[in-house]
Assembly symmetry: C2
């Protein structure tokens, strides 16, 4: 019998995965989270994740992926590569880590299967995918099939944010009662500043634009 009372959330401690964690807490009896240590510039990201998972009553595990940093140099893990301020017109931004979501979800699936869990929740979004090919729905569907074949198991990769944008993600967090927590305690900023962030990096700009729109809408009601 499939265990549909538990879920595993791929969890970075940022806006999207924290909203997904709140979503999962509202749907499942028990929620696990996994975070990944792949040599992020900001170890704060892992501290953030641990502290939010604890506050929200979820199990937390960290998986070491330091080999990813060695194999695929990028601006999120190397101090000697500056993050692009704007997304390039062609190709992937230099903050793209080759194969990152694929490794995250494969490790998450291994962890899930050993715990008898089928449902894996991830905050990827095609609406705000920033040029990352591994945030697209077609990739997630293909990966879901591949994982099921790899381990002869019925994983369900669940993507609550796939078709909503950042404004709607703020609205979802608010409806789940975690607006303040997401706004003040999550870390999305490429420069490692918790909450509203540096305001300069592509990630902060995307987050702020959605927040401003949502606050305007909320005020209007």
């Amino acid at each position: 019998m499939k265990n549909k009372k538990e879920a595993l959330v791929v969890f970075s401690g940022g806006q999207d995965s924290t909203t997904c964690l709140a979503w999962a807490k509202s749907k499942y009896e028990k929620v696990y989270t996994v975070s990944f240590d792949y040599g992020q510039r900001h170890k704060k990201e892992l501290e953030c994740a641990r502290s939010i998972a604890e506050k929200m009553g979820a199990e937390w595990e960290v998986i070491d992926l330091s080999e990813l940093n060695r194999l695929a140099p990028n601006s999120l893990t190397r101090d000697d590569i500056a993050v692009d301020k704007e997304a390039p017109e062609e190709g992937t931004p230099n903050s793209f880590v080759e194969g990152r979501n694929m490794l995250f979800l494969t490790y998450a699936a291994i962890y899930a299967k050993t715990h008898g869990i089928t449902d894996i929740v991830t905050g990827v979004s095609q609406s705000d995918f920033s040029g990352y090919p591994d945030c697209r729905d077609v990739f997630i569907k293909s990966l879901n099939t591949t994982l099921n074949l790899a381990m002869e198991y019925e994983f369900d990769i669940i993507t609550p944010l796939m078709w909503i944008d950042k404004e709607e993600t703020w609205a979802l967090a608010d409806s789940l009662g975690v607006f303040d927590l997401v706004r003040n305690e999550t870390l999305t900023c490429y420069n490692g500043i918790i909450g509203d962030g540096c305001g300069e990096c592509p990630s902060c700009k995307l987050r702020k634009r959605g927040l401003d729109r949502y606050l305007e809408r909320r005020q209007g009601n």
Copy 2:
């Protein structure tokens, strides 16, 4: 332009991947190999791989996957779990490492892309798959599609042994001029004995049955 002069071989130093390495050496100008350290009982496997790669003039890199051992306990990495002598009638054998080939090929793809390589050669075989779901052709095809979507890149996963059995793999090694090397220097045995192995574990039995048949055939000619 696609670089079709170089290939990457997923390389354990066993019979199958050594035959694949010889095959790749006959087809490509330059061949790279990657091996994985995932807490195998027998570190000899990595020494074996390094020494064969060197002898065959291929680049060699080892990628650390020790997290796999921590997350997915199995009889190949844990001294406290004995390897099944026979494959179970149902389910996967206890030497199956959840997600292993998927992780191997995902890391291999990351390594390949950062080196501008598209062709990844692996020795998986559906003919002798020993109940491992991640050796089936349908899995490899699905994974190929998923990797291409994940990294927006045209990987070709090439499987020279997919539809041939162990007897034919010996014949292939012979035709490539590496029969003696494969017979005497590779490590396939679950109990860590190089060459003809312990003769008792499922892997040795499979290898020996193919070898005996091939030797008989060769003698008959």
